[in-house]
Every structure is written in structure tokens, then in C-alpha cells.
Symmetry: C2
Subunit: 205 residues, 2 copies
């Protein structure tokens, strides 16, 4: 079916289906839209894809995706390089940058510790973290790995490492989302939030 | 905000947002997915887009999007060129090809008659249709324009034209969708279906 599409359009539709969340119908709609109404958009996207695929790599220091040697965060003189926030992916950095006014730098692990899959500390660049800890360059490590089994294991591993060098380690808070109705929060989160309850004073939240 | 993305990634995300139905979040997810996990997919999509943008045009006879001079339908010896189905867009051809076993050919208007917008019969290629009717090449015209005011006006215009040459004209049926619960069908469709009720015999559906 769908043989009514010419080879060029078929290839375009198949390529669009490689995008996450794009099925056959959506890919077809995208392809026809670009060809009928936005050829400039198609050319611009082609150029952007090809440029990014060839040039985007990882920041030398933090590992975030960038086509520069040092990303804009690591190269900023305003950032406190002694505050290090550990995340799993570049998307996490973007989310934190958009939501917080964190003034330190990041370390993008690119995954979680998972010995069964052959992902040990070195694959995540934790050996380089140890060097930075040993050099006394870090005053606080903020753990922002996922609240999953592997994410917790990764956080635990980093904490042990930081302990050896007596570096303060914090973990971002997990609990009931702000504005979330209690009855709609999943059991795991609610149980975690209940066990992790904190003193309620007038000054702090 | 979002300044953590390098220029190359920012440009990729902005270009992806030109795709229909893709917002800021989705574009970001697509860009990171391609860069982190599917660079081959990014290169393939770039090549397909650039090839299609440069080469896809309209079939000389029916106007469907294709990079060939004649599309696969118009160039097929199995197709009956005296049966002509009139549609508004290439997407309509694909939908009909997938759902029916129509053995004729198509005419893609690329729009609807809309005098206020400066879209007259010539802009839709209806002058060429008149030539084909005059040459006696057509035995039946099947109208598959949209059931909108402009679509109906277009269908009406074509029917008048075909009448002059005594060519049979049919219109695809509009009514309650198969499998649709009556109570969920919109009023316009239900009213149309009721007024357009047909004799119910044992043989036909």
C-alpha cells in the first residue's frame, strides 16, 4: 500500500519515521506539508541536520552535546566550577537550566551505572570525576540522577567517592510534585515523600 | 532560557519546529534523540529532505507530488484513463489508493474554488480538464472534493462542465461513518445522511 508515493517521497516519509514519536500517518503528513507548503523549511531542516550530525560532539569538560570544544556553561566565567551537578543526559541539563538559577557546572554521565550491561564507572567518566575530587577542585556535588534503581546506585557510588575526599554531597529532593493532588501521586513517590518528611518551620518551605 | 544549547543544536531544534504538530518540547526531544542515538537517521533524513526539496514536483497529467515527469498511476498501463477522480490534494490520492481498488486516474486540484482568494478554475487546472472532456477522453468523473462549502462549489462547477459534454458525474457518498455510533456523529453529517437516505434492498449494502 502507499505505492502511489514516488521513491523520493517514500524515502522522505521513511526517514521522518525515524524521529521519536512519529508514525506512518504523521510522517506522511509532515512530508506532504513540507513539499506542498514549506520547501524552504525542508531545505533548512536538511542543512541543520547535516551540520549537526557532522559537528555536534561532547563538551570536553562536562559532556553535554555541543559543537564547540567547551560548552557555553563550562566556558562561562560566571559559573562556579567548584559546584558540580551530576546528571544523566544533556536533556537534564537543559531542564535544570530552565527551572533553576544554578550557578555551578554540570557533569553529564550519558547513562547510569549498570554492570550487567557493561556500564561501569569509567564508561560514565567517573574516573575523571575522581581526578577532579583528588585535585580539590570541588566543594559540593549535587546528585540529580534519576530516582530509579540504577540512578540511585549511580548516586550512591558518587557519594562514596565524594566521601573519601570529604566533599559535601547533596541530592535533589524527591517527593510529591508541586501543585500535584495527593490522590493522583503514584504510591512509590508518596511513600518516599512520607518517609522523607522534613521539619516544618516557618522560614523554609 | 534554553541558552544551554549550542548554536548548531538550537538551529536544529528551530528547524524541527517547522514540522506540523511539533512544538518546542518535541523538537528538543527529537534533536537530542538524533544526536545521542541516531546520527545515521539524521544524515539519512537530511539527504531525503534535500533530495525531495530539490526534485519533487507535480505529475504532468494529474498534478500529484512526484519527482518523476509522470507519476506511477498516470504511467501505469493498468489504469483506465477514461475514469477520472477529482481530489483536492496528493494526500487524498494516497488515502483513496489505500482504501479502494479504483482503477482509473486522478486529477489533483491543489485546492478549492475560492474566487475571493483569487482561486478560479484556471488556478486549479480545470481549463485543462475541459480540454480533456472536449477531446472525449473521459467517460466518468468521480468527485471526491471535501464536503465543505468551497469543496461543494468546486464539485458543482465540475459537474456543470461535465454536463456540457454529457459525461457521467458521480460524487463519493457522504454520511455516517462505518462503525460510528449514531449519537457521536455531528449534526451536519447526520442531517446529510438522513436527507440522502437510499432504498434499502437485500443485495446492496
Amino acid at each position: 500500500m502507499g505505492s502511489a508515493f514516488s521513491p523520493g517521497l517514500t524515502e522522505l516519509i521513511d526517514s521522518l519515521r525515524r524521529l521519536p514519536g512519529v508514525g506512518a500517518r504523521t510522517a506522511q503528513r509532515m512530508a506532504l506539508h513540507l513539499m506542498q507548503r514549506d520547501r524552504d523549511g525542508a531545505r533548512r531542516l536538511a542543512a541543520a541536520l547535516s551540520n549537526a550530525a557532522d559537528r555536534v560532539g561532547e563538551c570536553r569538560d562536562c559532556g553535554i552535546l555541543t559543537e564547540q570544544q567547551l560548552c557555553s556553561i563550562c566556558s562561562s566565567p560566571k559559573r562556579d566550577r567548584s559546584l558540580l551537578c551530576i546528571v544523566e543526559s544533556s536533556a537534564d541539563v537543559i531542564a535544570l537550566e530552565q527551572a533553576t538559577d544554578f550557578s555551578g557546572v554540570y557533569l553529564v554521565l550519558g547513562g547510569q551505572l549498570s554492570p550487567l550491561d557493561g556500564i561501569g564507572p569509567e564508561e560514565l567518566g567517573l574516573d575523571r570525576l575522581e581526578q577532579r575530587l583528588a585535585a580539590g577542585q570541588i566543594s559540593e556535588i549535587i546528585l540529580a540522577t534519576s530516582p530509579t534503581v540504577e540512578g540511585e546506585a549511580t548516586a550512591h557510588y558518587v557519594r562514596e567517592m565524594a566521601c573519601e575526599y570529604a566533599v559535601r554531597t547533596t541530592r535533589i529532593a524527591h517527593g510529591v510534585p508541586m501543585g500535584g493532588a495527593l490522590e493522583q501521586v503514584d504510591q512509590g513517590t508518596l511513600s518516599h515523600a512520607f518517609l522523607g518528611r522534613q521539619e516544618y518551620g516557618g522560614s523554609s518551605q
